[in-house]
C-alpha cells in the first residue's frame, strides 16, 4: 500500500468565532483525481487554502509523502510541488500569457544582466508555448495580454501554469464554474490527462455529475470535517448529496462503512444542497463535542446545522485505490 502523497490530519482553522475546519482530514494519492465536495460553508475552500499554504492552520498537521510539513506561505507549498488553480484564476490580466505562466518565478538572462533581473522573454515565451501545447492549447498570439483572451483560454493559461510547475498536487477550485459545455469537457479531459502523468489532482466542485465523471475518489466535507470518502465509480449523486447534507446519517449505523453503503431509502434522493430537514437536528445536539451554536456558526450557510458526530471517516475505500 503506497503512502498518501498528501495528507491532512485533524486540521483546525478558526476565523474569529467561526470554526471553519474542526479537525478535518484529507488524503490524496499520486496519479488520482480526488474530488473534494461539500455544501457551502462546509470548509472546502478553507481546507484547500490550508493545504496550498495560503492559510495557516490553527491545529492539525499536513504530511507530504508521510513527512510533516509546515507552509509559511503559498510559495512554500509551491516549492513542494503543490500548485493551485484558483477560482478567480489568479491571473494578472494586463500581462501576457508567458508572463503569467512565470509570474513570481521569471526566467532571467545569464550573466550580469540576469543578476540585475533582466528577463529572458524569448525563453519564457518558448517554454510557455510548449507548456500550452502539451495541454493541447494553442494561443493565437502569446504576447497578447491575458485580458484579451476568451474565458476558456484564460482558464487554460491558469491550468497550464499549475501543470507546468506542479510535480505532486494540483488543486482546482471550481475550475469549470465559468465555462461553457465544450470548454468544461476539455478541462475535465485535461484533468484526467494530468492525473495520468502521476500527479494528484484535487478537484473542488459543486457539480455532482462532473465529479462522478472524472473523480477516482470523492472526499466529502461537512461542518469542517471529512464525513465520507467514496470511490467515484461506486457512488451515486444521491449518496454524495446525502453525505454532504448529512441526511444519510439518520440511516447510518455506527459502522464506519455505513457511509458508503447505499441507502436507497434515504430521503436524500429529492434533496438538492440547501435548506433541509431540521427535524434531524435535535436528536444529536450535545452528542458531539461541539455545541450546536458553534456548528451553526461554522456553516453560516443553508445547510441544516447539525453537529458532526465524532464518526471516523472511512479510510478503507481510499486504501483500496492503488496509488502508483
Amino acid at each position: 500500500m503506497a503512502e498518501p502523497l498528501l495528507e491532512a490530519r485533524g486540521v483546525v482553522k478558526r476565523f474569529g468565532h467561526v470554526h471553519a475546519l474542526q479537525g478535518a482530514d484529507f488524503t490524496a494519492f499520486a496519479g488520482e483525481v480526488v474530488a473534494l465536495i461539500g455544501d457551502n460553508g462546509a470548509g472546502k475552500s478553507t481546507l484547500v487554502g490550508v493545504l496550498s499554504g495560503v492559510l495557516a492552520p490553527d491545529g492539525g498537521e499536513i504530511r507530504i509523502d508521510g513527512a510533516p510539513v509546515r507552509f509559511g506561505g503559498p510559495q512554500d507549498a509551491r516549492r513542494h510541488g503543490l500548485e493551485t488553480v484558483y477560482q478567480d484564476l489568479s491571473l494578472a490580466q494586463d500581462l501576457d500569457a508567458p508572463a503569467n505562466l512565470y509570474l513570481g518565478r521569471e526566467l532571467v538572462r545569464g550573466g550580469l544582466l540576469g543578476r540585475i533581473g533582466v528577463l529572458d522573454r524569448p525563453a519564457m515565451r518558448r517554454e510557455a508555448v510548449r507548456a500550452f501545447a502539451e495541454l493541447g492549447v494553442t494561443l493565437k498570439d502569446p504576447s497578447a495580454p491575458v485580458a484579451a483572451l476568451s474565458g476558456g483560454q484564460r482558464q487554460s493559461v491558469a491550468v497550464a501554469r499549475a501543470v507546468a510547475f506542479a510535480n505532486r498536487v494540483i488543486f482546482l477550485d471550481e475550475p469549470t464554474a465559468a465555462l461553457g459545455v465544450v470548454q468544461r469537457a476539455r478541462v475535465l479531459e485535461t484533468v484526467r490527462r494530468v492525473a495520468d502523468r502521476g500527479i494528484c489532482v484535487v478537484l473542488i466542485s459543486h457539480n455532482m455529475p462532473e465529479v462522478l465523471s472524472v473523480a477516482d475518489r470523492v472526499e466529502v466535507l461537512r461542518l469542517g470535517r471529512r464525513v465520507a470518502s467514496l470511490r467515484g465509480a461506486e457512488t451515486t449523486i444521491e449518496e454524495l448529496v446525502g453525505a454532504m447534507t448529512g441526511s444519510l446519517d439518520r440511516a447510518a449505523d455506527p459502522a464506519p462503512s455505513a457511509q458508503v453503503a447505499s441507502a436507497p431509502a434515504s430521503p436524500a434522493t429529492d434533496s438538492a444542497p440547501g435548506p433541509g430537514r431540521p427535524d434531524a437536528e435535535p436528536r444529536t445536539v450535545g452528542a458531539a463535542g461541539t455545541t450546536w451554536a458553534e456548528a451553526a456558526e461554522a456553516t453560516e450557510a443553508a445547510t441544516p446545522a447539525r453537529p458532526a458526530t465524532p464518526q471516523q471517516p472511512e479510510h478503507q475505500r481510499a486504501e483500496d485505490e492503488e496509488a502508483r
Binding site: 478567480d88 508555448v129 493541447g136 484579451a148
Partner: protein, 357 residues
Amino acid sequence: MTTTRPEGLQPAAENGVLADAPAGAADGAASPSLLRRAASVSELWTFLILAALVAFFTIAAPGKFFTTYDLTQIAVNAAIYLVLGVGMTYVVITAGIDLSIGSVLVLAAVAAGEYNIHHGGAGAGWGTVAVCVVIALVVGAAWGALQGVVVATEKVPPLIVTLGGLGAALGIAELATGGQDPADAAATNLQNTLGYGKLLGIPWLVILAAAVTLVFGLVLGTTRFGTHTFAIGSNPAASRRAGIRVGRHLVKVYALMGLLAGLGAVMWLASYGTTSIAGHSTDNLKVITAVVLGGTSLFGGRGSVLGTVIGVFIPAVLSTGLIVIGVQQYWQDVAVGVVLVAAVYIDQMRRRTRERS
C-alpha cells in the same frame, strides 16, 4: 514599452483544445493582427497628438517654432517633470498615486540648501556639492519609503498617505527655513555645470533626464522588477499568491518616486539656484497629467515610460507653441485639461469593453 513586441512565432494552428472557437470572430474585423495591435497601443495615440501639435505649430509659425533654441527650451523645461514622471509612472502602474512629490522636492532642496549655506554658500567646493546631492537623494528616498511603508503595511489608501505627506513635507521645509527661500542654497559650481552646462550643445539637465528615463524605462520594460510592478497593479492578490512580496515591492516603488523627487530637487537647485518653497504646489498635478496622457492607467497594470515622455512633452510643446504663435498661453491649461479627461475616458471605455468580453 512592454506592450509592443514584434509579431513572431505565430503558431500555425488556430484555436487549441481549450481555446473556444469564436475567439477570433469576437474581435470583429478580420484586420491584420499587427495593425490591430498597433492601434491598441496607447502610446501611439498620444504620440500622434504630439506629432500633430508639433506639425501645427511648425506650419503656423514657420521658421519660428521648430528651432534648436525652442527645442532646447522645451527639453530643459520638461527635464524635471520627466524625471518626476518616470517615478510617477511606476507608482501609477501599481494602481497607486503620489501627491506629495512637489513637497518632497522642496523638502529635499531645503535639506540640501541648508547644508550648502553652512558649508560655503554660493562659493562652496565640490565636496559640499557632492554631499548636497547625496542629502537631497537620501531625503527624497527616505520620505518616499516612509510613505510606501504606510501604504503597503497599514493599508491606508495612497491618495491619503501622500496627501498627508504633501502637507507634512512642505510644513517641515517651511519650519526649517521660516517660510523664506534661503539665499545661497545652491553652489555656483553646481549651477555652472548641471544647471547651465552643455555637452555637445545639449544641456546636462536634458542628458541627465534622458539617462534616467532610459534606465528606468528599461527596468520597467525588461526586468523582473518591472514585471512585478505591472503584476501588482494588475492583480495584487494573484501577485501575492505567486510569491511576489507585494508590500516590499510597493515600498521600493514609492522610495524610487522619492529618490527621483530628490534628484528633481538637485536639478531645480542647479537650474534656478533657489529652493522655491512656494513654487511646487502643482507639480503633482502636472506630473500625474503627463503620466495619464501617456496612456498609463490610473487603475494600474498598464503604462509605459515612453508614454510618459510623450505625455510630458504635450504640455511643454503646447505652452511654447502658443507663445510662438501669439496666443495667450493660458489656453494651454484648457487644452491639457480637455485632453486629460478624454484620455481617462478612453481608458475607462477600454476597460469596460474588456470586462464585457
